[in-house]
Each structure stands twice: as structure tokens, then as C-alpha cells.
Symmetry: D2
Subunit: 442 residues, 4 copies
């Protein structure tokens, strides 16, 4: 995509606090366009694994969401951009319309990127007209949901592009490092050796009868409700994520060859898929390399960064090898409740985001957010009294409450505005294409 | 198998209370043999679905368990029956030995049934010698575990044989009904119309901070421990299981064609597998029949019996259609805690066990046990502080804590001695070959 | 692709007779570019079935062929355009280099189309330098092979784009019909109702001891050699191809539901894939439509055009239903030997080629070439004494002599220069994405 | 099966010349029973690969053939043994009745072996009544076909049992060697070192216009007709089969790792299935063993016996490695036409048949028959003018004429009466469970 298609925020601007609905909407829309800047129209066609969608599809589907659930219902006289798009860019909402099989998205060469960009502009302009009319409360709720939905797809877009570039045998990088440099460079310049890791510590928590789930008036997804009581026994949580270097020790100790560390289904996955390292690790003449949005990097440079792109099964096996366990989602939530939402996020000033070496316990205490989503030992299920949204939007979260595990805390490709203490991400336990890592508990 | 191979208990004898370890062991061993009486050596070769094993394999594997974990360790001078059996009849204990792939069990024509019966006698005799020596505590614990293990395989043996006879195009029946008759016959004779169902009622429970998991000194599996506190919001539980007749209404209302009732993974299963009824239902000229251990019966005769052989997905969809939900495992356990373990079990005097029409709320109140395992909405996970048994036997339960749902309460093919309030059964949500049914909650 | 990227021949110019090696080369290269004119860079990324490759890949791979087998060996000082392309665009030549799995071609967003076009220009310019040096005989042979190779990929490119546009749920058309009009239009204007079909006649042949395989000095592939004797019994060949209208009668007579017409493997394919019509036929409210390079057309408009995109199994079943059989490749060759190579080919002036209604037996006699490849009943095997080319190019044809059937005669997407009487095309019997049709024999 | 169930011929008796229809029938029926003598009812339940059927099914299906195509039509008043058997034991005759999927045969525990044996007796007795009535010509033709059909299943029965015993992890042997000894023993006793191989020679043939297909009045299958002319170029055929020792040299030279020897589809099969030796070879501490009907034997004892259980792809790759090729089926037939049908067959006096070391060119010249079926380079297609039998029996051979290769000459498990010069066996090129070997041509 050429740099001129759309005015964009720099990542630093985009991390400013944005509160008015219009600003919230515009910031989300600009951020998506910014992320596409390094991509060609051809890059935006690639769908390289079953979990992924083409970047162009993400551009269209997020726009479809506003058209379908906001403009068609709340903007009188709204003219639909293209009647076919109503079903073409529906992802999985059975009660809205029929929709194409996911794997067909790679065949959507038409509409071309140009037309998708016009679609975005058409919808964005109509949204501005809606904002001028002071939209009613339900419309504002839908807009808030739509902005959050778009942020989810920003994260997916980068996750999918990383897979696309990894699949391309030429192993393209998403972005060169910016002139401003990265945290690692800054660390190195300031004499902080980025490859040295602090020893792992544990923070202890008392447990007891706690509350979990979203509280207060801000936005949340239906799956974060209702807030409810849970009983927790005393526990402890690691003060940082497991690093690539530590994970390499697990591998060197036969981690992928010793069934005693693995759940039975995990061991089946190891054997069937031939797993012997995290998804983007590859070895060349005895040395491991890791493919990132910055291209392929030697493991030894990343030894102190959090391990990423591991499945739940690998996280669980690592924990067992280490004599620890994974936390439940409620342990994580109770521990983090009083912490500010700070960490290495999509908006943190990295041009090509990767998990950061800056894991150190600083004066402000442990950071629990960002870098990598944390696999928890909790299955993704409805809270007591859970009720999906009414109507089509009820298909958003509830229908996936089967066979998945909860992840918490966001990653280096999550927009900071998107995350909160009660946020529940979820993936099947064999999923590896996400920025998913490991925080130990005991 | 001929009726003369082994002295057997009648089902009525076998339900007597048995407390001494030797009696416990002998009762379990006799019960297994009794269940094989209607089977030919050829029947005992069949392995008709991925979940199933041949009956002969069940005979051998339960024997292997006592040989491997009791006799080899605790009976000095024990002579192994056949060194090859140590790995041949290992099911999945990676740390014990290599073992054949499960699907190969159908090729075990040798050792023949005669040899397997000699293996059983060899081990049974050695066990008697051990009992004479007053075995040490750990040996007694292993024997208790082995008896429970054998009871699990009794249930599997009948479940598997039902599938085998269903797969045989001639649709064999396991047993003719006995001369003594069945509960349904008795009901009919006593004027209790077996096909009339009481209206569904709900019993209400207060919830609060409760304890779950095994308490007291008796036997339990490691996955029932530790006993721990859970917080429950107020809830209500149906006073009987959902019947075949009620389930047929769900089908008639488009249950299998309307995605709005289904979890996304469940809807995928419906489409991929072409599900349109429970596993053993088939239609012939507009009428549904249900295949049971008593052969194929018309649905209309079974309208008042609990629906069985449904997956978690179907149970969950039914509940959503009915405007209810499935209970959590803790709701079930808290509700049932004070109830006696009574119900329609393997030892209940049926020659060819099926779920019973006798669901009625009698003077003693609701029956929560037996007939069909109840799918809960709880994923099968370790309790807080869960620790598997040490050593090889630690592979018994813990390694399956992924991707499965908990079932509670036992079924018409569960030995009554085997069940208790804290008992946790578990299967993948798409599993349909079990005697698994539906109890609603709200 | 924009129309300005390359000077192109119109299809009429390109059908001129071209004999000098340079002209042969240039005509092939121009034709490829001409075919890409209606395509966007995004279209050229799509790989919509296992048989297909992205159009961009075809552009690159045909260029790679000249670079790898001509320039690197015969142009002193040739500078390779990009060292990675040597393996990246290798299709399957195991002895040349490693190569990416075919399914990965959809991930080649980089190199972008711009770079592939520069690659083509780089190689084309180097070829011109080679032509100036009067290349040696082996180089000329390789150039001839490369031009034929490129023509094969022209055909594949259109075949693959048809599938890509069919897979896109919006069902794009490749090209509008040109201003000049099509044969059908001409026919209609001249009062020849394009939808009336002449009754099928048969031409009789004596057979006897005949010769088959390439004769004379022109180019041929190794699989057309050596010319050898075959004995043919007397036979007859239909004087035109089977039409869509005739095929629809087979369907209406239960063709896809009656196993008696099908080879056992064909019947399995029908059941497994749910075949009930040729690949691009779909029904809508009781009417069949056919998807073509001109978009979706009603079957009734195509009733008199040859049926296309049928598998060998369907061709064979149709023939059995019709009380006929398919010809052997030698029967076809002996019958056609004395015929001029005339018919509806890629260069025949159609802007969006489809099989033509112009099947009529004209004064010059039956036309045997063009429109659709004819499935023969001959398995694709080496002729007696067959010897593949030496070296890497020996992997061109011989290694595919297993499990495939021979097709003869070319289709509406075959360049006319490419075809000859001894030409052997080959595909697996279940293949349906080709312009493959039916000529009956008896 | 106990030895007392049926009077049987010894193998020596059964090889006597049998000409009267009744004798032909009885000999075939006795031979089947003789082959089952070493098998238990449980052995006869095993179906260990997709190609195989349980031995019990072979017993029933061959009986079904006589009941369905002879007795029901030609014996007035014939009482069907069991109406269900008509469809239960139908293999694949679509026009006769529906039939169970092949993979379900492993679930046929009922009818038990006892009942199948009674079915055989019932049919055999009815056949005797038919013989007393002097059956009409068509009945005699069907009986002849049925006897040949049963002989085919005798061969399959042993092929399948070898696979069953190989799949059983205990690696059972079919039969101990008999007291009388084997040819190898006799050879050794007579000082003929069985492990020494004569150098491979080639017999030369002139070719020319020859006739192929069945001639004369005896029985043949429809696929051997019509006799027709073929043109053959001069060729040469090896004077013995390729041995295990020679094949081991191909393996040692990287045969399974070098794509240059393989057809493309064959190389795919090597990679997908992990082939690195013939089907029943396994290595243990650097030494290869071969599993046979006599149990597992060291390769070094079998170095001079023909290699068996190789696929067409392996045969073809071996030939290319050796600088030779496989013969066409017509080359084989023309070369062998004048040879007596002699060789190592099922009736050759081996208790547990295996390919023999007795490959030597004796005074009578080269032996072309027996030991192993010879893969030819000919696809299995209909001869010019081929016409299947009318009616249901037309589904016998013709519908399989797709995707298979022809094998010639019979093997050590083929009844000698069953084979003739025009006999065409056929299997898919990846098939390995047959006694299939290699005879080179040039």
C-alpha cells in the first residue's frame, strides 16, 4: 500500500488518550491504515495458515462491521456501498447472512485493494455524518464495540502478516527497524545488556473470596460479565515471562522428546506435527534463529526476550518441566487488578513490534501486561449467569466457549487502549501463530 | 464365551456390599466375566470405533494392571505369565513400557481368548496368594485402584459391545431380556405406564461457599482431590433427565438445522458428521428406532426413557433450545452431596442394561444417579493443588486434562460400587458412544 | 496488470506463422503478456485449487526456464537476475535444485509483479544478445523447448484464472466480449442458430498396421518419440464433440446416480466429491448455468457448444451411457494424421476463449482439433524404446508416466502453434479443471 | 479352525489334474478349507489393512458367489440359507444388491464361524444336487467362474493373513515348516546352496505382429478377451526374478533416497509413507529381517529368493537403477506362450508358501511362472473390442480398468490350476501387500 492512501497517525500520536466516541473511532481506523503501510496489495492477498486471513480482508471486514451494525440501523438514508459486501465480508455471523468459507478469502482478488479503500472511505464519511447527528446510546455502544473489534483485527493483521512472511520462502521482514531505534538498542546504548535476564522471582498472593469480571462503567465484551465471586487458594505468580533462553534449556533437556512433561493431547500434537521448537524457530547448522516482524534474528540475540508463538501444550509442558504450573485466569486477574495497564504494546513506539527484553522488575514493580499473551490453565467458559448480547452480535464470543483456553494480558501487537484487567482472549490449545507466551505460577 | 469358563455371580449377588479387599477384588473380577457371558470369542475381537477396544483386550488389560502394578512389586517370587504381555496390554502408560497403537488391538487374534482366560486365572491365583500374606498398605491401595480400574473397563466393555453390535449390519442384540423381566415390564404390570413422563420440575439450591472434591477415608481417584472451596451462585437443577420424547421435540423443531442453538465447534460437528439424531437412532419409513443392548426398539416405546448417546454439543444445544443450561460439575456435586447413591446401575438387575423409564420423583425425592452420565458445563481440569499419583500411575487421569468435559453421576452400565458424589468422568465434547445424557439447570 | 507494461501482439497478429527462432521466442513471450492484460496484480496472486498456480508464478517460472536452461549455459557472461529465483521458481526439477512446495506459491507476494516483469525484461534482453551471437544447435533446441514450455503455461494460466474467478464468490469474468464479436455472434448474424446441433455422425477407419509418434524434423516433446508401429482394428470416430445439451440429457437420465455407467474408481469419485454436473455448472432455481471466461452463462445458450471441464471418469461414463466408448490415442492419431491443424484455438480471435458452437461438419470435412482436449482411453505411458531427454530436462515428461490418461487435439486455450497430430497431453482421470471434453468412438 | 471341521485334500492331492466340473468345484472348495486349518476363529476376524478382508469373510463370500449366481438361478427349489447373507456377503456388485462398506467386514462377529461353515455345507450339498441333474451350459460356465473366483480368494486369504500376522505385534507365523521339508531344505541337503544366485541372463525375442489374449476353448476371464493383434519391437526378458539380495544392493545404493530413479507419483509415495524397504522388511540393530508365512527370517537366508511385496513404483525404480525396464504385458505373454505352466505355486508342496530360491535355469529352460507376480509396465485397460459379461457378473473385471497396472505369471500363493499365459492380474501401482516381484526387460 502506498504511503499516500490515507493520513495516518504516527504510533506515538495514536497512543494518546482518546475519549470522545468520534475520536475513538477515528483513532482505530487510522491505526489500521498505519499498520498496512509496509504492505503491497499483493502482500495483502496472502492467507498462509488456517487461522489467518488476508490483510485486505481485515480492512474490509472491520468496515463491514460498522456498515452492518451501525450505519444500516442508525444512519437514516445510508446508501450501502456494495450490496454483495454484506455477505462477502461477513466472517461467521450465521444469523446475519450466508458467508463464504474462510479458506476462500484468498481468492478475493476482486474487489481490489483500491475498491476496499474506497469502501473504507465511504463508511468513514458516513460515520462522520452519524457523529454530527449525535447518535443514540445503542449506536454509541455499537461504535465502541466496532472500535474494539477493529483493534482485535489490528492484532490479527500483524499476526497473520508475520505468518505470511514466514511462509514466503524468501522470509521477508515487515519493517526495517526505525531510525529512532528500538528499546533493545536504547538499552544497549545505555549500558543495559539486553541479553542478560534477571533471575525469576515470584510474587505471593493470599487468595480468598475475590471478585472477577469487568467492573465499572467502561467498555467490555460480554464474556467478561457478569462480575462474580471466586474462591482462590493462596498462590504465587512469576514476576516476569519465561524467556527464549530459558525455553531453549527446556529443549536442550529433551523437552520435546519426553512424554512425562506433556498432556496426552499435547504429546499427540508433538508427534503428529513434528514439533521440536516454537513455531518460528528454525535451526541452521546447529544454531537456532527466530523469525520476527523484523526478519530472522539469531536466538542468541533474543535469549532475554520472552518466548512467543508457543501453544498451550508447550506452555504447560514447560511449566511441568520447571516444576511449576500455569496460573488460572482468576489468579492472574486478582494479582493484576491493582496494576496500571503498562507494558510493551502495539503503540509502544516499535516500528516492527516484537516482545521486548525490557522485562526487568523496575522500581514500579512487576509488569504484568504486554509482550506476550499469557496462557492460563483456565478453559474458556461462560461466567455464572453469562448471557450473550442479543441478536446477531450475540455470536461474537459465546459460541466459541468450547475447546479453547483463556489468555490474559495482551501482547506487543495489542493496542494499549484495547486491553484491561478483565480482558479474556481465547485460542485452542494447539494454536501457535499468536504472540502467546508463558508466565509461571505455583 | 461359553457359560462354563468361570463361576460367576448373578447380578443380584454382585450388588451385595463387599468390604474386605479380597472380596472387593473377587467381585470385580467375577463381574467382568459375567458381562462376557453372552459374547463369542469372535464378538470379543471387534473394535468398531476409535474410542472402543475389543472385549478380549479389556479382559487382558485389566489383568495386566494387577500383574504390573501389584504382583510384580508386592508378591515375592511372582512368575510373569508371558513377558510379552507386559507391553502388549499396556494401554497408554508411557513411563512403563512401549505399547502398541490403540488401533492395532483389533489384530490381536493371538493370544486367543483361551490364553487370556488362563492369564486371568494365573493372575487371580497369584492374587489369592498375595491376600494370604496380608499385603502391605501400598499393595492394598493398588488393589483398590485395580478393582476400580476394572469397573471402569466393565462399563467400557458394554459401551464398546453396543457399538460393535450396532456396527454389524445384522444389528445383533447383547442379551435377550431375562425371564425375570425388566423394570419397564414390572412397571407395566403394576399399571405404571412406562411411556408417560412426569412434567419436569426444578429443585432450587442456595449456593454460597461450598466444598467440592472427595472427603472421608474411602477410595477415590487423584482427580477428585484435593477437596477445596468453590463459590456457587444460587441455582436450580432439574428433577429428572431429559427423555427421548423431549429430545425428539427438539429434533422436530429443527434442532439439528438451526445454528443459533449450537456452539460454533458443535455446529461444525453437526455439518461435518451429518448428525441429525443421537448416535444410535435411525429412521425407517418415517419412524425412529433406537439401538440398545436389547436390540433395536421403536422410539415410541422409549419416549419416557432418558435420551442417551448424545455428545456434549447436543446436550448444550438442547439446553439452549429449552431455554435452560447445563449445570457445572460443582452445582451437581453440591446438590447431590446429601443424596444416597441409588439409581439404575449395572447391578440393578437388568440383563441387558438400558436407561430406565423409572425417572419419577418418588417419595424419597429426586434420583440424581444412574441411567445416563450427565454432561456438565465444566471443562475437565485439575483442582487447585491437584497432584497426580507418583510414578507410572500418575498417568492415569492428569494427562487427559485437556479438551474434555466432565460428566457426573454414573449410568446404567456403571457398577454401583464404582460411583460416588465426587466422581468425575470425562470425555471430549464430540463423544457420542457413551451412555451420556442431559440434566438441565437454570 | 496495466495495459502499458509491455507492447503486445493482438491475438490476430500472434497467429501468424513464425519460423525464425527469435520470432518464435518473441511471439511466445508477447502472447503470455497479452493474456495477463485483464488481470490485476491481486488476481495474479490467486491459487484456488491444487492443480493451479498463481498467474504471477507462471510469468516467473517460464522466465526461469530460459534463464536456467539457456542463458546460464549458452550466454557467456550472463548475469543472473536474482540468485534466489533459481530455486524459488523451479517447479519440480529435483536434479536442478531444491524447490518450494507447490502450495506455497500463493505466499509469493514478494517478489512483486513489478519485479517479475523486470525479471522478464532482463531475461528477454539477454536472449536478444544471445540471438545476435547465432546460438549453437543445442541452445536453439532449448529455446524451442522453452517456447513450447511457455505455451503450455499460457494454457495453464487461463485454466487457472478461470478457476480463480470461479472460486471468488463474486464470480468475476476474465474479459468482456470484444467489440469484434465472437463466432457465436457471427453465426447468429449470419443466421446460423448457434444452439442447433447437427446430428452426430461417425467417420470409419480401416486400422491395420500404422505408425504413431512424431515424424519429420519439427519440434516435439520426448514423450512423442520414438515413432513406432501399432496395430489397429477397424474403428469409427465421431465427427464432432459431445455438446453441453447432450451431456445434460445424460444427467437428466440419472447419469450421476447410476453406478452401471461408471468405472469403480469413477463411482467412488462421484460419491466422495458429490459430483452431479461438470465442474463449472451450477443450478439456480432449476436452471443450469455454466461459468466461463466470459462469466456465467445460461446452459441453454451453450446447449450446442462442446461440454468441457469433465473428468476422464465422466467422459467414460457418458460414452457408456451413449452405448459408445472413448477412442484410444492411436485411433485418434491415425484418424487425424492427414487433417490440417485447424480449429478453435487460443489464437482464434476470441477475447475470452470458450469452446465454440461452430462444430458443424463443413465442406472441408470434420474438424478434429481445438475447442476441448479429447480424453482418450489410453493410459499415459512411454512408447516402446522411449528415452527421456538427458539431464535435468529429462524430468519434463517421463516421470509423470503413471496414473494419468492421454488427451489429444488441443483446446480453445491452446496456442495453435503449440499443437500437432502427435501431441500428447496427460492428466489424472479425476482432473476436471481443464478444457477437457468428449469425442466418442465405436 | 480345528483340523476336524472338514475333510481336506493334502496339497499334493489337490494339484492333481481335475477336469470334470464337479471335481473342479470340490477341489476348489476343499483347498479353501485346507488353507484355513492353521487359523483360529479369532484369526479369521482380522482385517488389518484396507486391501484385506477377514478370512471368515472369504469363506462366506466365495460361498455367496455360488449361491447367488448358480443355485438361485439353476437349482429349482433351492432354499436360501439365510436371506440376509445375500447382501451381507456381496462384495461390490452394485446391480445385485446393496452391500456393506468393505471396512465393516471386521465387525461381522456374527454370523460366527460355525454358521459360516454350515453355510458352506448347505451350499456344497445343494451344488451336489445340481451336479446330479446335469446342469445346463450356462450353469456350468458359472460354476467354472465360481471355482476360479474361489481360487482368487484363496490367494487373497493367504495374502491377507500374512498381513494380519505381520500387524499383530507378536508377529505370529502361519504354519511351521512341515516335516517333509521345503525346497530350500531339499536344496541344502542336496548340496545346492540356496543362497547362491545365478547371474542374471536375458532371453531375446524377435517381436513382430503377434496375438495376445486367451485362445482355445478353456476358461478365461472376460478381461483376457478378445484375442487381438499387437505389434512388438524386438526385446529381451530376464531369465529369473530379481532377488532380495539384489534388491538390498539397490537400497544400499540410496535407492529410496534418490528421486532420479522414481516416477513422480512413486517419489511422492516414498516420502508420504516413509518407504525404505519392501513392505515386510524391518531392521533390527543393522540387520534386515523379512516377515513371511513361516515367520520372521533373516534377510541373509533369503538373499537368493525373489524379492516380494514391492509396489509397482519400487519395481519400476529398481529397473531404472539397474539400467533396465519392466516388460509390457504383451512382451511377457509373447515370450511365455510356448512355456509349460510350471513353477512355485500354492500347490507346490510348501506348508507355508514363500517365494523359492529355486530360480535356477534348469535343463528345461527359464521358468516364467510362479514365486511372485511380475509387475508389467502396462496399464490395466480393456483389449480392443472388450466387452464385459452381461448382467451383474459384468462388474467382475471391467469396472476396475482405471488406475491399475497389470501383473502376470502367478505367485507362490496362486493355485496352479488358476494360472495361464493370458491371465491378467491388476493392482494400483502403490499396492504392496501382494506377492509381487520384479522381472527385468530391455
Amino acid at each position: 500500500m502506498t504511503a499516500t492512501t490515507s493520513p495516518v497517525l504516527s504510533p506515538h500520536q495514536s497512543s494518546a488518550v482518546i475519549s470522545a466516541p468520534g475520536e475513538r473511532f477515528r483513532a482505530a481506523r487510522r491505526q489500521t491504515m498505519y499498520l498496512c503501510q509496509p504492505l503491497t496489495p499483493e502482500d495483502m492477498m496472502v492467507q498462509s495458515c488456517a487461522e489467518a486471513s488476508p490483510a485486505k480482508w481485515h480492512l474490509a471486514h472491520t468496515t463491514w462491521f460498522f456498515e452492518s451494525f451501525v450505519l444500516r440501523e442508525f444512519l437514516p438514508g445510508y446508501r450501502v456501498f456494495n450490496a454483495d459486501f454484506a455477505w462477502l465480508f461477513n466472517s461467521y455471523y450465521e444469523s446475519f447472512s450466508a458467508f463464504p468459507e474462510k479458506r476462500l478469502r484468498a481468492s478475493f482478488s476482486r474487489p481490489g485493494l483500491d475498491e476496499i479503500l474506497r469502501y473504507r472511505e465511504h463508511v468513514d464519511e458516513a460515520m462522520e455524518r452519524l457523529f454530527e447527528r449525535e447518535p443514540e446510546a445503542e449506536a454509541l455502544r455499537r461504535i465502541e464495540l466496532g472500535a474494539n473489534h477493529e483493534e482485535q483485527h489490528q492484532e490479527l493483521l500483524l499476526t497473520d502478516i508475520l505468518n505470511a512472511f514466514y511462509t514466503n520462502p524468501l522470509k521477508q521482514r515487515y519493517r526495517e527497524q526505525g531510525t529512532k531505534g528500538t528499546r533493545e538498542q536504547e538499552n544497549r546504548e545505555q549500558g543495559n545488556a539486553g541479553t542478560k535476564t534477571q533471575p525469576l522471582g515470584f510474587a505471593e498472593f493470599e487468595g480468598g473470596l475475590r471478585e472477577a469480571g469487568h467492573a465499572g462503567g467502561g467498555f467490555c465484551f460480554d464474556n467478561e460479565l457478569p462480575r462474580h465471586r471466586v474462591w482462590l487458594e493462596p498462590y504465587a505468580l512469576a514476576d516476569r515471562l519465561v524467556t527464549c533462553g530459558e525455553y531453549a534449556e527446556f529443549m536442550a533437556d529433551g523437552g520435546y522428546r519426553r512424554p512425562e512433561f506433556w498432556l496426552s493431547a499435547g504429546w499427540d500434537a508433538v508427534k503428529q506435527n513434528g514439533w521440536r521448537a516454537p513455531l518460528y524457530w528454525s535451526d541452521s547448522e546447529g544454531e537456532w534463529n527466530v523469525f520476527t516482524l523484523r526478519g530472522e534474528l539469531p536466538l542468541k540475540e533474543l535469549a532475554a526476550t520472552p518466548v512467543s508463538q508457543v501453544s498451550f501444550y508447550e506452555a504447560d509442558a514447560y511449566a511441568r518441566w520447571a516444576g511449576r504450573r500455569l496460573p488460572t485466569e482468576f489468579e492472574w486477574e486478582a494479582a493484576v487488578e491493582s496494576q496500571p495497564v503498562e507494558g510493551n504494546f502495539l503503540d509502544s513506539g516499535e516500528f516492527a513490534p516484537v516482545p521486548s527484553t525490557n522485562l526487568a522488575q523496575d522500581q514500579n514493580g512487576t509488569k504484568y501486561y504486554g509482550d506476550c499473551w499469557v496462557w492460563t490453565s483456565s478453559a474458556y467458559l461462560g461466567y455464572p449467569g453469562f448471557h450473550p448480547l442479543d441478536g446477531t452480535l450475540g455470536e461474537y464470543n459465546g459460541k466459541f466457549m468450547s475447546g479453547q483456553m483463556v489468555l490474559r494480558g495482551g501482547s506487543c501487537v495489542t493496542p494499549v487502549r484495547h486491553i484491561r484487567v478483565s480482558y479474556r482472549n481465547f485460542f485452542a490449545p494447539e494454536t501457535r501463530w499468536q504472540f502467546s507466551g508463558i508466565r509461571l505460577a505455583k
